[in-house]
Symmetry: C2
Subunit: 354 residues, 2 copies
C-alpha cells in the first residue's frame, strides 16, 4: 500500500492550501472531496471574498488549478472517507464514491479540512421568519444573487429600497446552543452592505448588531469604508421579531444606544447566520476518533501555541473544522498543517516512526 | 557561503514556530534575535497567555527549549540584521552583535518575525495621564505585577478597590494615526480582569469599551466567564479624560448605552494599549526592501489567500510584523511561513531557482 503520502479530507480553502503545501515540499497527496468540485464554500456559494471583495470564483479557481495541475496530488471528487484504521505513519482508510463503490487507500498522515455549515435560521427559537417570508434571506442567499450581479426582493423581483442585516443569528446564543461568536459574519455583512449600496445606490442599508467585530484592518478597510463611503447605517440593537406588514417586513426590537424600542419597515431582511461544524466534520470526528471540543468542533492540543494538532497523533486539522475561522485563518492553518504532516513524513524517513 | 538554509529574524512565538517548522522539515535555520533571550513579548512581559491563562514563561520555555536543543538551528542572540543583498535562493546579510562586531551570513530564504511594539499612551492627544499619574498603567505594566502574583496601586502599594480598563488606546483612532483595531486588547483586558478578581476578590472591575471584539471561542471562554463567574462590569462608553481627585483618579466620559455622562472614581486605571510595528519591523522593511502596507506593517501579497508571502520573492513574514495578530495567528503563520520557505529550498534542490 501507498503509505508515503498525506491524506487531505476536504477541498475548500484550508484543504487546497494544505494539499498545495504538502506537494510543494515534494510529498504526495491524496485529496478527497465529497462534492463534485473543489473550492469549498467560497467557490460553491460566494460572489466575493472578505475582506478584499475580490472575485471568489476567480480567486478559488487559482487555488483549484494549481492542485489539479499538480502531478503530486491525486484528487478524488464525489468521494467520502467512510472508515479508518491504523495510526500515525500508517493509516488505512476506506473511501466511498457516489456510485457506492468502496476502495481502500493508505496515508502516513491526515489533514482534516471539512469546514463548517451555516446555521439553519429556521431552527427552534429563531423568530425571524426565514421559512415564512420570501424576503427574509441569509448571507448565503444574498451571495447567490450577487453572483448574478443583482440584489432583489425574492417576493417580487424588485430592487429593495430598505435592507437590514440582523447579526449573530445562531451565534452568541445560549438558548440555541451556540455560545461562540462566528467571527466572520460582521465582516461579511459589512462587505455585503457595501455591495448592495453599489448595486442599488438609492437603497437604505442598516446593520443591527451587538458588537461590530471588525478586528485588525477590517476596522478601517471595511467598517469605516461602509460608513463613510457607502453610508451604511449601523444600529446597536437587539431584534426580537420579524413580522409581515402589508408587502413589507416589520422588524421589531430595541435600539440599545438610544435606549428605546425600535420598529422599522424593511423590504429585505438578511440574516447573518453563523458557523456550525459541518456534517463532514462530525463524521471525521467519529471515523478518526478525533475528540470534539465543547462547542462541537474538532479539538486541538497545545492551546494557542498549536493550532492544528489534534489529540490523535498524525491527524491535523485546518480551517473551520476546528471552530469559527476567517479565510486568513484557514489559509495559515492549511500551510501550518502541511508543514506538520510533511515533518511527520520526514521523521518516518529517518526511521523515527513505525 | 552557507546558503542552503533559512534565516529567521525574531525569536518570539512566530519566529520560534517558524524556526522549529523549518528544522522539522530537515532544513537548517539561522535564528537571529536582537534581545539577549528568545521568547519575544510573551516571555519578556507577560504572566499568562490569552485565551487559556496558561503560564506564559512555562509555555514559551517549551518553545524556546525545542529550538535551543535543535542541532539544525543556529541561534544568535543580541544580534541584529544590519544589511542585506542578493535575492531568493541566495541572500547575503550582515549581522551585528552588541559588541559592534559584524559578520556576513547567507540564506536561501528569509522569514521576518519581528513583531509589534505597544502604543505609547503618553503620545500626542492621549488624555489619560499615563506619564502624570502613578496609578494610570498599561496592560503590560499590569502583566509585570501579575508575574509577582499581585496587583497594586503603584502610588501606595495597596490593593485597588476599584479598577477600570480603557479599551482602544492608540487603536481605532484616526487622530492618532492608527485606524486599525489591534485585535487582542479586548481579550487581554478581559483575561486581566479575571485575574484581578482572583487576586483581589473584593475589587470592583470595569471595562470601558466601544465593541467587545471577543471573536470565536473567546466569546464564552473569556467574555461570558468574566461576567458570569467573575462579575466583571462591562460598560459601553467613551472615556475622554482621566484626572486626579484626592488620592483617586476621576474617569470622565460618556456611557453610550445609558446615554449619559459618566464620572467614576477609580483606584487604578489600566490602558489597553494597541499594537504598532516594532522598530525591528520598520528596520527589516528598509533592509530587505519589503514595502509597508498603509498602516505601516509589512505588506503581503495575495489578499486573504496568502498570509505570509511579501512582495519580495523569497522573503516571508509571520506574526504581528504583518499587522495586529493574536497568538494563534502568529503560530499558524509561523508554520505556514516555514512550509513556504522550505518549499523554496526544495525547488532550489531541483534546480528551479538560481
Amino acid at each position: 500500500m501507498d503509505v508515503d503520502r498525506v491524506l487531505v479530507v476536504g477541498g475548500g480553502p484550508a484543504g487546497l492550501e494544505a494539499a498545495h503545501g504538502v506537494a510543494s515540499l515534494g510529498r504526495r497527496v491524496l485529496l478527497v472531496e465529497g462534492r463534485d468540485e473543489l473550492g469549498g464554500t467560497p467557490y460553491a456559494s460566494y460572489a466575493t471574498l472578505t475582506p478584499d471583495l475580490s472575485d471568489a470564483t476567480e480567486a478559488m479557481r487559482g487555488m483549484i488549478d494549481r492542485i489539479t495541475d499538480n502531478p503530486l496530488v491525486d484528487v478524488r471528487l464525489g468521494t467520502r472517507v467512510v472508515a479508518s484504521s491504523g495510526e500515525a505513519g500508517g493509516f488505512r482508510v476506506a473511501l466511498e464514491g457516489k456510485d457506492g463503490e468502496k476502495r481502500e487507500e493508505a496515508a502516513a498522515a491526515v489533514i482534516v479540512a471539512t469546514g463548517f455549515q451555516h446555521f439553519d435560521p429556521g431552527r427552534e427559537t429563531q423568530m425571524y421568519g426565514y421559512y415564512e417570508y420570501d424576503d427574509v434571506i441569509t448571507l448565503v442567499d444574498a451571495e447567490k444573487m450577487f453572483r448574478e450581479g443583482r440584489i432583489v426582493r425574492p417576493s417580487n423581483g424588485e430592487a429593495p429600497a430598505t435592507v437590514c442585516f440582523i447579526q449573530c443569528v445562531g451565534s452568541r446564543d445560549r438558548q440555541i446552543g451556540n455560545k461562540y461568536c462566528s467571527k466572520v459574519c460582521c465582516g461579511i455583512a459589512s462587505k455585503q452592505a457595501i455591495e448592495i449600496r453599489r448595486m442599488v445606490p438609492g437603497a437604505k442599508v442598516f446593520i443591527f448588531y451587538i458588537d461590530m467585530r471588525m478586528y485588525g484592518f477590517w476596522e478601517d478597510q471595511i467598517y469605516w469604508k461602509a460608513q463613510e463611503e457607502y453610508k451604511v447605517n449601523y444600529v446597536r440593537g437587539i431584534v426580537t421579531e420579524v413580522i409581515r406588514k402589508g408587502d413589507k417586513l416589520l422588524v421589531k426590537g430595541e435600539d440599545t444606544t438610544m435606549g428605546r424600542p425600535m420598529e422599522v419597515l424593511m423590504d429585505l431582511v438578511i440574516l447573518s447566520v453563523g458557523m456550525e461544524p459541518s456534517r463532514g466534520t462530525v463524521e471525521m470526528s467519529r471515523i478518526f476518533g478525533i475528540p470534539r471540543e465543547e462547542h462541537g468542533f474538532l479539538a486541538t492540543v497545545g492551546g494557542p501555541l498549536d493550532t492544528v494538532s489534534t489529540p490523535v497523533p498524525g491527524i491535523f486539522v485546518a480551517g473551520a473544522a476546528a471552530g469559527p475561522k476567517d479565510l486568513e485563518d484557514s489559509i495559515s492553518m492549511g500551510g501550518a498543517a502541511a508543514m506538520k504532516a510533511a515533518a511527520l513524513l520526514a521523521r518516518m524517513g529517518e526511521g523515527a516512526l513505525r
